[in-house]
């Protein structure tokens, strides 16, 4: 009898742990860097989320059930060329997600707070776009300024 119970218990454990035992069950792909290209010193530049140069991610999960997916970003406030720094701003108007890889029908969200997408079914693609604004800066040196955006997807 005890053996039977342990067999049942073991089976349940395997089933329930299958998600957590697998090495990974959320898969993110970075599809595009956030690329401002050439910006003249003293001029501002805006990259909306619909711009081809906006950063773009795609993710899906392989959990067996629908999940509430939480998204959060770590965003730089300044970019550096090793000599000078320039500010960069992100906001809700420059950030969006959608189930479809289209410019229409996207939903904006605030990249500075944790955002949730409810009832995301297994293997369903979710797209994330992030643009930004570069205010006009005078008195800075020319060169390549860089920074990093970190996106965390979890459930």
């Amino acid at each position: 009898m005890n053996k039977l119970f342990f067999c049942i218990l073991f089976s349940i454990l395997i089933l329930l742990l299958s998600d957590s035992l697998s090495a990974q069950n959320i898969y993110i792909t970075k599809l595009n860097d956030l690329n401002f290209g050439d910006v003249f010193i003293g001029y501002s530049k805006d990259i909306p989320h619909t711009d081809i140069n906006a950063s773009k991610f795609r993710f899906y999960h392989t959990a067996t059930s629908r999940k509430i997916i939480y998204l959060s970003f770590i965003l730089p406030s300044r970019l550096s060329n090793g000599l000078d720094q320039i500010p960069i701003t992100f906001d809700q108007n420059h950030t969006a997600w959608s189930y479809k890889d289209k410019t229409s029908g996207r939903t904006n969200f605030n990249p500075y707070s944790k955002f949730s997408i409810k009832n995301v079914r297994s293997n369903r693609m979710v797209y994330i776009w992030l643009g930004a604004n570069l205010p006009a800066m005078a008195g800075v040196s020319y060169g390549l300024y860089e920074g990093t955006i970190i996106l965390t997807v979890e459930y």
């Binding site: 049942i8 218990l9 349940i12 069950n25 401002f36 050439d38 996106l151």
Partner: protein, 171 residues
Amino acid sequence: MKLITVKILFLILICGSLSAQSRVNASVPIHISLVKGLSMNLLRSSLDFGEIIQNPAISKISKNAKDGILFEVAGNPGKNITINYSATQLTNSKWAHNFGSQQGNIDFIPSIMISSTTEMNNPLQISNGSVVNLSKENDGKLFVSIGGDINIASSQPAGDYLGNFSLTVTY
């Protein structure tokens, strides 16, 4: 029996909470190439062929670019620029109108030189549409001088011939 059931439920609860967690990070770089704008500063403004006395033996007058118009072009060190210009015609129409003389035109064939110094040391002749790199060693500065040739016909109407020459520099 009861103890086993309790243990099973306990393990189910723990496993349920374990399986609910998953977290993945992805990073994306941001690139911005901050560029100095292009500027052109006129250092020497005129290309004057002087007074020419008509002589059937002389049909072509040349002016060395080193003695002609001189521009300083400043831009982003390391960037390429394209230099465009066009041939132009000089006309004596204003002079002819004032003095009731015959109107005429003279073709101006430009000759463009570039150098890294205002003295136009080691000049390099360029053609229309040439792509030139703004040297980092010279802090993105380039000097462009304009000279050229004019062809004078033996029956060329007399007068003061004037014309405008346009030079365009773009990234």
